[in-house]
């Protein structure tokens, strides 16, 4: 499966019936209590957050919600968060820090929402704040990209101690569609764009952005949501064990250095 081109993976992650966080959360976590609102403006359905048990350990879950049908998508704005979503995420992350709970971020977004109100309420500032605060958050953070990891809207939940990707997930600086329209003034060439952008899990491991690839069933996660959820659980279990062994300073230094090391230049 590892030689599946990015363009083909784009089809797989867009497959109707690909599991979303609404499928995964009940399978991976116990007693999930959802928390609402950023305490500043409102509640954003594109980001679902709350507390739960993971194998008996209390955790905070912050997840981007792609809808499984039109109804869900209306409620979650097709998984594209507004600033209040990012501010809710930060509030819950700070709460996790206070109560010494690890944070599990589930990423699945085409990107932060681009709109008039999003700009008025400071989309850029909201994302920047998450990135900065997550960088020094005094508790382990594990992030997993389930499908689409679109740009800064994904990175806001992607500053972490370990980043994992489902086998067919992608992570990119701009959507392949946006890339194609930028480069060739032709958005319909997105597949071609996907194949040159280096956005597959394997590409991102080689660029040291992604730390682990979580295998999917042979034809993709949609063929067996339960098996995929089990694979995600297994990964989270291992990742938390690795992070729990570390002292706080070591954890934070490694997190800083993980991002510090990315960049290719000569002096």
């Amino acid at each position: 499966m590892s030689d599946t081109p990015a363009s083909k993976r784009l089809d797989i992650i867009r497959m109707k019936g690909r599991p979303t966080v609404n499928d995964y959360i009940p399978q991976i976590f116990d007693d999930f209590f959802e928390m609402h609102g950023d305490r500043l403006y409102g509640d954003d359905g594109a980001i679902k957050g709350g507390v739960a048990y993971f194998k008996g350990v209390p955790v905070t879950v912050i997840a981007q919600v792609k809808g499984r049908d039109l109804e869900e998508n209306k409620a979650s704005n097709f998984g594209m968060p507004h600033p209040e979503g990012y501010r809710k995420a930060l509030r819950l992350a700070k709460q996790a820090e206070k109560f010494h709970r690890p944070v599990i971020c589930l990423i699945d977004t085409a990107g932060a929402f681009c709109g008039v109100e999003a700009e008025q309420r400071g989309q850029g500032e909201a994302i920047a704040r998450d990135i900065m605060e997550f960088m020094t958050l005094k508790t382990p953070i594990i992030s997993i990209i389930l499908g689409e990891g679109g740009s800064g809207g994904a990175l806001a939940l992607g500053v972490c101690d370990e980043l994992a990707m489902l086998e067919n997930a992608i992570y990119s600086v701009i959507s392949p569609r946006g890339f194609a329209s930028l480069l060739w003034k032709d958005a319909s060439r997105e597949k071609e764009a996907a194949d040159i952008m280096k956005i597959t899990a394997e590409d991102l491991v080689s660029l040291k952005v992604c730390d682990h690839i979580i295998p999917e069933p042979a034809e993709g996660a949609h063929t067996d949501a339960e098996a995929t959820a089990a694979a995600i659980s297994e990964y989270i279990f291992g990742a938390l064990q690795r992070k729990f062994q570390k002292g706080l300073d070591e954890l934070l230094n490694e997190r800083y250095n993980k991002f510090r090391a990315i960049g290719e230049f000569t002096v």
Partner: protein, 292 residues
């Protein structure tokens, strides 16, 4: 998120865009005249330049090169530049990226889109960061990310304030995901500088957009903007495409950001150095006691 930001910037600010291929048509008025992208007023370049590259009609503060910015901001000869020779590699083997960079280096005299170093403003030592939109629209690639990160790390280690003049079209597409990660890297360095209790002032200049807005540019203790400049996250055309209507001119301007609470103050270019000097002086003094 950055869909189309470059083309939007180019389209909107086309007359002053350095990305345009000048060889295609004789651009006679371009040298003699300045057409303001905000209000459309045409003025003689000489008058416009004498006015500090500010539109005499609407006060739009147009783009400066990093060298021009340093000249009007810091004490003469005080710059000790960091990482002068740093250049990007081609992390995702993007077609023609090296050639494009080389051509730009020859044309602009810059190695990449940012100059960093220590400098003085009215004899107060600072670390200064100045982005230059004439190099690939000051998009953030490996060099921009690394130089800014090193500048903050130096400032943290030497207990110095940082002043950053931001300008950027956003991410550098040619570096793919590596570009995106510079947002995290720079913000991490800002966080450590901030935790050390040190001052960071952002000055947003034209245009501050995309991934730079969504990282270190928005994280200053004090955020200043120049009048009428473009500040935003998403590209205007993307938003117009979503809502299917044209946006008003003032959308994503410095004034719009002030009104919505994301900028502390708008400061005219001719008062910038003075303002920065005052703010630096105020922060040098620790509060909590009056003189005897």
């Amino acid at each position: 998120m950055l869909d189309d930001i470059f083309s939007v910037v180019r389209q909107r600010w086309g007359s002053s865009s350095p990305e345009r291929d000048d060889s295609k048509k004789p651009d006679i008025p371009k040298d003699l005249m300045f057409k303001c992208p905000r209000c459309g007023t045409v003025s003689f370049s000489e008058d416009f330049n004498l006015n500090g590259k500010v539109c005499p009609s609407c006060n739009y503060h147009s783009r400066l090169s990093a060298r021009e910015r340093l000249d009007i901001t810091i004490d003469k000869g005080s710059l000790q530049e960091f990482d002068k020779e740093m250049v990007s590699k081609n992390p995702i083997n993007f077609p023609d990226y090296e050639a494009k960079q080389q051509a730009l280096r020859a044309r602009t005299g810059l190695k990449d889109a940012v100059i960093t170093g220590t400098a003085k403003i009215r004899n107060k030592e600072i670390v200064i960061i100045v982005m230059d939109s004439h190099f690939l629209m000051a998009s953030m690639g490996s060099v921009v990310g690394e130089k800014i990160t090193r500048a903050f790390e130096y400032a943290t280690e030497h207990k110095l304030p940082v002043i950053a003049f931001t300008a950027s079209g956003g991410a550098r597409m040619q570096e793919g995901i590596v570009s995106l990660m510079q947002m995290a890297k720079t913000s991490g360095a800002v966080a450590r500088h901030s935790e050390a209790g040190l001052l960071y002032i952002t000055v947003m200049t034209d245009p501050t957009t995309g991934g730079v807005t969504a990282s270190f540019a928005s994280l200053g203790d004090i955020i200043i903007a120049e009048p009428k400049v473009l500040i935003g996250f998403a590209g205007r055309r993307v938003i117009e495409g979503t809502i299917r209507q044209k946006l008003p001119d003032e959308f994503q301007s410095a004034e719009f950001m002030l009104e919505n609470g994301f900028v502390d103050m708008i400061v005219e270019r001719k008062k910038m150095r003075r303002t920065l000097a005052h703010l630096l002086a105020l922060h040098e003094q620790k509060g909590g006691a009056f003189d005897e």
